[in-house]
């Protein structure tokens, strides 16, 4: 297979030298685009809130209070952040543990997203923790009864595992071939460890809420919370990988790995089906029928979550025509992700809001909380874009096929769906 250097003509090191780091940055600012200015605006707003948060405390920057101690930063940044990074362990286990080689092409973007996701979750946690400089305490001050202690350890270890899984991309760029080889030797046990740790802390994020049966709205409290959290993470992981492939295919003018993504869609469909069965069991176990027929805020949100985020995407994924079409798969993935985010926000905020409203508190995040969250999301997008450009994230074949004419190639693809579809059917038949 052709190496990256041969295609580009210059080695990355040579490029770095000829351009220089500083001129790279000035270039970045000189070629201002719409998305770059959005990025800068979000980061600027977020930095302002950061200053307020760390100078004057959480009370000054957030709408949190004694009667509502956990808000957007736990509900979205942590619960959703960790969940949306689940593609990493789903795809890595498919390739390395189950030896499903056809997913090889998307291992790297998935692992990269997962790694970035976890680093950003820890970064976000620094805002939410009242004493972030003590974040290392769980490593030496143990309380094995605490779910959060377990989550902390799993996140520390799994981030380390992800860093190792991700490291070949960096080592290749630095031409440290022996290091790449060393990582590949231990990749299987590494991935197995990663899967174990992911399963544990994905589910444990649900277990965090097991201790508040008296506070949560009955529609969301369940002894099955850890299983719900885990299975929905398995469903959302492939959906995130799909969305990311679509966005990056647009941004970097590369072809989408449709046959692989359609297959991955089936993983989501199965996970959603199991999730739905468990949810129905929940309705029977906890006698939720009266709450389901009450169309208050909670009732409506619950129905939206189940119908829009579980049943509808599951049905859509079962239909081959939808699953194998670019647009169909993209919008289905979007449904799964939205349903997932809604679920996490419901568990962490909506379900507890009614309980706390008896103290006269109705939580809605402050603009500063939102701006910090948006800044973190923007940094995530920015870092992914940088890595995708500078590291060997995407499969090499794609670059080799059309390095110079990528842009025109993409236009052809977008305009001629029929041709593309026939290409897919051919790909499917070949297998």
């Amino acid at each position: 297979m052709l190496s990256r250097q041969k295609i580009k003509g210059k080695s990355p090191e040579e490029k770095m030298k000829s351009n220089g780091f500083l001129s790279n940055i000035t270039n970045w600012f000189r070629h201002m685009t719409f998305w770059k200015s959005v990025f800068l605006a979000l980061v600027a707003a977020g930095l302002y809130s950061t200053v307020v948060r760390f100078l004057f405390g959480l009370g000054a920057a957030t709408h949190l209070s004694d009667d509502f101690p956990w808000g957007l930063w736990i509900g979205f940044d942590v619960l959703c952040g960790v969940g949306l990074a689940a593609g990493g362990f789903v795809v890595a286990s498919a390739v390395y543990v189950f030896n499903l080689d056809q997913y090889q092409a998307i291992v790297r973007p998935s692992v990269l997203t997962a790694f970035l996701g976890y680093v950003l979750v820890v970064f976000a946690l620094l805002f939410d923790l009242g004493r972030p400089w003590n974040i290392w305490h769980p490593m030496v001050m143990w309380n094995p009864h605490s779910v959060m202690f377990e989550v902390a350890w799993c996140v520390i270890l799994y981030t380390a595992v992800l860093a190792l899984e991700f490291s070949p991309m960096l080592f290749e760029r630095l031409r440290m071939h022996r290091a790449v080889h060393a990582v590949h030797k231990v990749i299987v046990p590494l991935v197995i460890l990663g899967v174990m740790l992911s399963t544990l802390h994905q589910s444990s994020l649900g277990s965090l809420y097991l201790i508040v049966p008296e506070k949560m709205y009955p529609l969301w409290y369940s002894g099955n919370l850890p299983f719900f959290f885990f299975i929905s993470a398995v469903a959302v992981g492939p959906a995130m990988v799909t969305i990311e492939s679509f966005i990056s295919s647009r941004a970097f003018h590369r072809e989408i790995e449709m046959p692989i993504l359609s297959k991955l869609g089936k993983v989501s469909a199965v996970a959603l089906a199991i999730y739905l069965v468990l949810k129905i069991e929940d309705i029977l176990n906890y006698h939720l029928a009266p709450y389901l027929s009450t169309f208050n805020l909670e009732g409506v949100l619950y129905w939206v979550e189940i119908l829009g985020g579980v049943v509808l995407p599951m049905v859509l994924l079962v239909i081959p025509k939808v699953r194998e079409s670019k647009r169909g798969l993209f919008y289905t993935a979007l449904l799964i992700v939205s349903g997932f985010v809604l679920n996490r926000m419901d568990v962490s905020i909506t379900s507890i809001e009614r309980y706390y409203s008896q103290f006269g508190v109705n939580y809605f995040p402050s603009w500063m909380e939102i701006s910090v969250t948006l800044m973190i999301v923007a940094v995530g997008f920015g870092t992914f874009a940088w890595a995708a450009k500078n590291l060997a994230v995407f499969p090499k074949e794609v670059h080799a096929e059309a390095p110079a004419h990528a842009e025109s190639y993409e236009v052809v693809v977008l305009e001629d769906n029929a041709q593309l579809k026939s290409a897919h059917t051919f790909g499917m038949e070949a297998k």
Partner: protein, 268 residues
């Protein structure tokens, strides 16, 4: 096991003089205010619910949710009974506040280096055989300090002797597995701002159900995964071997697989 101490609060006796609030504020070095809500500057308050004065303070649960959820063990239940807090360990995650069924731990929201505040039953006083400041200050015997077992008997006796004064319920005897602060009242506790539907089961048990399974899960899960790897890897190897045997008559499927396998190996 040591005999545990506790506080019996008799809401029918409280006269709302706020002496306890003042004694508590002095003990912690908090300002005296007229706001009767627990906060980072109030570890005990007297609230008015209907015609009843209700002193509030940490319940010092037998199995405290706050201590069980704290990732760094900054909160713990002492052998003597009080639930105490070690500021130097705290990371400020506020899981204790989220988990507490009685909204007791409070947070310094407007400090850059905040910590939690909560009643510790004047641990350094009770350790040395003295009474908590609030109990000592109470002129009406609305707060009684003693061994929890004795206080429970005392409460039962009071109810038996004055069945018209008291409702037949010692709050904290069984709620969330029992608490070291227990209450007597003349009206239903739900009318005095107490959480109405608390389980009898200690709250940490709800998580322990799951946490207990983790070591087993880890051992069996990783074994299973390793087994899957072995099986699928062998299948792949066999397929590769068979393909080699068939060499000379390639077909579309085999060549595609071969390319993928080669692609996978090329990563090395």
């Amino acid at each position: 096991m040591k005999k545990q101490v506790g506080i019996l609060v008799d809401t029918t006796q409280c006269i709302g003089c706020m002496s306890c609030e003042e004694a508590c504020a002095d003990r912690w070095g908090f300002p005296h205010t007229e706001v009767h809500e627990l906060s980072c500057e109030k570890n005990t308050v007297v609230q008015q619910w209907g015609g009843t004065y209700v002193p509030r303070l940490c319940m010092h649960c037998e199995e405290p949710a706050c201590a069980s959820v704290c990732p760094v063990g900054a909160l713990h239940k002492t052998a003597e009974g009080p639930v105490v807090y070690d500021e130097s360990k705290c990371i400020g995650c506020r899981y204790c506040m989220q988990a507490c069924a009685f909204q007791i731990p409070k947070y310094q929201w407007n400090k850059a280096n905040p910590h939690i505040t909560k009643c510790d039953m004047c641990f350094e006083r009770t350790e040395n055989g003295k009474q908590p400041a609030c109990v000592e200050a109470c002129p009406a015997q609305a707060r009684i300090f003693g061994y929890r077992d004795d206080l429970l008997q005392e409460a039962e006796k009071k109810i038996k002797e004055n069945p018209k004064t008291y409702v037949q319920h010692v709050f904290g005897e069984t709620e969330v597995g029992g608490t070291s602060t227990i209450y007597l009242a003349g009206v239903d506790f739900s009318e005095l701002g107490f959480p109405p539907s608390l389980p009898k089961r200690a709250l940490p048990q709800y998580t322990l159900d799951i946490m207990e399974k983790i070591p087993d899960y880890f051992v069996w899960g990783s074994t299973l995964m390793a087994g899957f790897w072995w099986l699928t890897n062998r299948k792949k190897k066999v397929a590769e071997y068979e393909e080699q045997m068939r060499e000379g008559k390639p077909n579309a499927v085999a060549s595609e697989d071969k390319r993928q396998i080669a692609g996978g190996k090329d990563e090395k």
